[in-house]
Symmetry: D2
Subunit: 367 residues, 4 copies
């Protein structure tokens, strides 16, 4: 039997519903060829760089039924990657080392002819650098935050929105029964996509997002208006990156956001505190969704999108279109160069129809 | 208090998850104006044409919390509409009458200045004719089948896909445990959108859709290949409009489809029968989803889309852009003239990326 | 290393949510001993009797995470068992053979010291006969139908009820929107447990069950009363074993039930037909849940019960309490001799509090 | 028309899935009599004691479809009740007043002949005192915590367990993908019922409950054992009332518990801190379910139980069995005197089969 060509698959960054559907689609598509086999590296590049290596053969049996499981069968990691590998200095402190050359050498040793790297913008940046070093890399975007501008949607996002919306539904009955203000914090990094979608879908009354710094006085005015109209309760959705006017620095690497987010629920509790200090008289409760948004069974939408990405990713390998990331532009699955893929962060535009819808539903954005 | 202008809302055709979210969005948006009030006609135009009339005032209190309920608080009907109102002839048989003029008169009497008609292609055609008669009509598309080419997506579709996919998930465990072929029929009229999405998301093995007439021998060959590879079970998703090669007439009004679909599950049972006659030796079971696909809580995706449609529909009234239907073209909510909206049925293109994905996942389409 | 004692696990009869949780619990409990190992026979006794045998070693890794998967990783079968093994006669017809002695011999050869047989009443009867032949057998009851009188509840039942109830919820919105009578058929064999629970939980208007033969005139009178009170729609839950007064023979082996049930949905369609013939003027639709009730993720209740059964089953092996079946008598997990376990079928008592509740909710039972 | 007798319904304490199903059942059952009508007091006794009163007539139309909605249409409150009504002193501080006589007078004025008080143990104590003062009171128990010893189960509990279990399922995929210890805090007051059920159903690795004070060293030893067996991740379920050995005072009013619980998630974060201080090297994350457990659609089990309670409660009124609370003793719905109902808190017994099951599944209880 002739030796088969090998494509290596790996998943990096935070886990995301749909990752396994991508892996399965790659394997199913590759199984239709005569000359390719798929292998996977555990915990992103760790599987290749660690001693001993942790490489698994991914055949159809291995991926049977994994499409509806959350997480990733390949494991993942949020540490630095081959260009900034964490190493312990002699004095016990941590530094980093560039192990990219070693990585390329090992991939060659393993007979890897192409790599499909499924990950967030950090992963895509690493892919671009490896591609520049001559590696045949294809990228698949992964973010529950929908913060990539080069694709209409990313898988995992709609599942996160669905979970957040179901949570709003649950909190709504308590809010109404107890006449309370229920404050719920959702993920989304520097973008408000999950928050705004969940607020619209769940019928929330207030939604604060990073793109629109809020004024607490405006929020309270809105709650009072509701109260005067006879509804003494409210649902407030807070994006983890939301910031009050003045306190927000609008930039990707903004350290202010980082600091505020240090602790799970930090933003929501701070928001509640601000409401109280500003004189809110309603009883209130905070809920922090946290990792519940990342896990569990992906909804059908995300499984379809992830499957489309997986099939396309392997076909890009067949077409030798390396240095590109798959993307969705309705109704097509396309590919874009890494550099283009990662250059622009996907914020919610203030004059988008989505914002107009929120305002039309009388959702206060705090501005 | 000055008299307010009235916009009449009605829902027609089969029910669809998201209808109430549209109604709520219209009411919430209208409440932001000083001079508009919303009323609803029960059971589509019946509420206006019946004696006594059944008109309800739709205020914010009335629509509070309805966004996550399936169905429509306005009721619906699938009978003919004002241009073909069913009337009983003297001999007891049924004929139809044109009551459109009476309708316009009554709407005037009710002080209705604009109508928002939420419905399928039948409803949009009626809207166009009423618009030609001088009525100020705005359309909102409603179909779980995703069969409108003028909008990227319609609300209700993703909920139907989600329900169908969860059903595949449930059948999959039985299929594997019992080594059975599980055949599931889903809705979709003459299009295979629900079937194909559920097949991809659920990891089905076979999916037959109206757009691609199937050969039963090809299906059996696929099942046998699976069996030889050690998987003695399979999931088959059958679109209600699917037809074998030769037996299918590809046209919107095709009576052949109508006949085959007369009875719930007709297509799936016929498919099972064909498999048996062609020598399939596997044990098999049929499941017909039926109305389970239309009901229940809409998923977040559909609630967002429906809310966007509702807000936009009322804003079209404000902008006097009558004779148009709202539509979604990512990421914008736009409007298109009725004539353009209904001229083209939205079939799955045989060389679409969605079909390529299905084939890449080794789903047999029977061709 | 000393040779370990072997306990063989197998699952028989229709699949049931919770089976995998039982298997996992047995394996986890056995892993706490030093001298036992667990093996599984595929497709009930087939795995032992077939050539080659299909026996799998069940260690903790193998059962990791299986508790929330429907079906059974051991596969199952509904054919006759070792005492009535289907064999093809020379003339091509099918007969049966007693392979019980061969089974015992093979089990001895495999080093099996005890067998845990998870299955319905058919399986328990086989277990009793094998126990009489000297085999060390423990039974675990498995039926979604809740039709065993020796245990308060069986796992799988509450999941079936939950799925049926969610389906009623979905149909309810369509029923109200379209002013329709929605008829839904659920499983339950000769008992009405699933039907009555789903009817109460879902707020149905009519529920017909095997224990109470119905009169169609009484059902129609109830629907008319509802209509006169202004509710022109209804939800009817039909147990698959329901029968009209006069046409029902109240016995476990009743062939009448068998005949009526031959075809999926037979009872529901027949019920609808009766309604129409008796003059019902409402529009109606039939939904047949079928295998959707058996599959999918078990709800927490069933996972807890199944886990309790699994741990207890293995502890009965340790205690050498063979010839007994585990059972639940709130709040204890006990065991009962096979003969006692299977002697009485669990029908709904006509003067039970459950029936009184149904009547108190104005659910017509057709009597 | 003869004047009807009035039964007043009210809901007190924290909201709980199933409350609306109880209310609906009371109304449906009362509608079958000729001489009773049901009214409801908003926000427990507030509706009667406030000026103006907030009393609603509860007819069948009002309760249509409410059985699958969480919360309570009557609203609720957690403040003191008629014997300890919060009043503001002249110096601005808060005291309490006994308004019970005023309550009785107002109930008489309203023509109330019987009261059905749905609430937790606090509510039952109030009911007992009002009963002693001559009021015709029936009690319905309400607690998601399952902490009443006089009934097998209370509605709301299984829904809370289901939500907690689904959350464990979601966290499990993240735990495995990231090799993390996921710590989840659930409700339950001084009892571990929700925690232990969710831990068993979800396949958790550690579960700490109030009934069994934990030693952090034992927990770490268990995690290390898992790690050595190749599973570098774990799910830990923490009951909100859990306490380390030595730091726990085992009493209903224990102030230690109160203090630890003051802040949402206090117990879980403290547990994580203890793990870190004791040298745990795993990455960890905390999730606090909070109010998500109380809201949303009740599962079928709870809707059935709540319906049974509601029908029975009204029948106790008919039977004039005042001073009693409804309860479930499988398979019967019974009633018990208030004094008996509230005298014993329902803790998990250390030698119960549930605990044995948890141990059998290798769940560390930290002891």
């Amino acid at each position: 039997m002739a030796k088969k060509k090998r494509v290596l698959v790996l998943t990096g960054g935070g886990d995301c519903p749909g990752l396994n559907a991508v892996i399965r689609a790659i394997v199913k598509r590759a199984a239709q060829t005569d000359d390719w086999e798929v292998i996977g590296s555990m915990q992103s590049f760790d599987g290749v760089l660690n001693e001993p290596t942790e490489i698994v053969v991914l055949d159809e049996k291995k991926v049977d039924g994994i499409h509806f499981r959350g997480g990733t069968i390949l494991g993942t990691t949020t540490k630095g990657g081959p260009f900034a590998w964490p190493v312990k200095n002699k004095d016990g402190s941590w530094g980093s080392a560039d192990r990219s050359e070693e990585l390329l050498r090992k991939l060659q040793f393993l007979g890897v002819e192409a790599v499909i790297n499924i990950g967030g913008d950090g992963s895509q940046k690493i892919s671009q650098r490896l591609f520049e070093l001559g590696l045949n890399v294809i990228g698949v975007p992964k973010t529950i935050d929908n913060d990539l501008s080069s694709t209409d949607y990313t898988f995992g996002f709609q599942t996160a929105v669905q979970i957040a919306t179901e949570s709003v539904d649950k909190l709504a009955t308590t809010a109404a029964s107890h006449s309370r203000v229920m404050i719920m914090e959702v993920m989304g990094r520097e973008a408000g996509w999950i928050a705004l979608h969940a607020a619209i879908a769940g019928g929330a009354d207030v939604c604060v997002i990073p793109e629109i710094p809020y004024e607490i006085a405006k929020v309270i005015a809105h709650l009072r208006k509701r109260y005067q109209e006879g509804r003494g309760y409210a649902i407030v959705v807070v994006a983890e990156g939301a910031m009050p006017k003045g306190g927000f620095v609008y930039a990707h690497e903004a350290t202010e956001i980082g600091n505020a987010n240090k602790r799970l629920g930090g933003v929501a509790f701070q928001f509640e505190q601000s409401l109280k200090e500003a004189g809110m008289s309603f009883d209130s409760r905070v809920t922090v969704l946290g990792h519940l948004q990342r896990g569990g069974v992906p909804i059908a939408y995300d499984r379809v999108l992830a499957s489309q990405f997986g099939v396309k990713a392997f076909e890009l390998v067949l077409d030798k279109k390396f240095g590109e990331m798959v993307a969705y532009r309705h109704p097509n699955v396309i590919s874009v160069p890494f550099l283009e893929a990662i250059e622009k962060y996907n914020y919610i535009s203030k004059d988008s129809d989505l914002i107009r819808t929120a305002r039309g539903l009388d959702i206060s954005l705090g501005d």
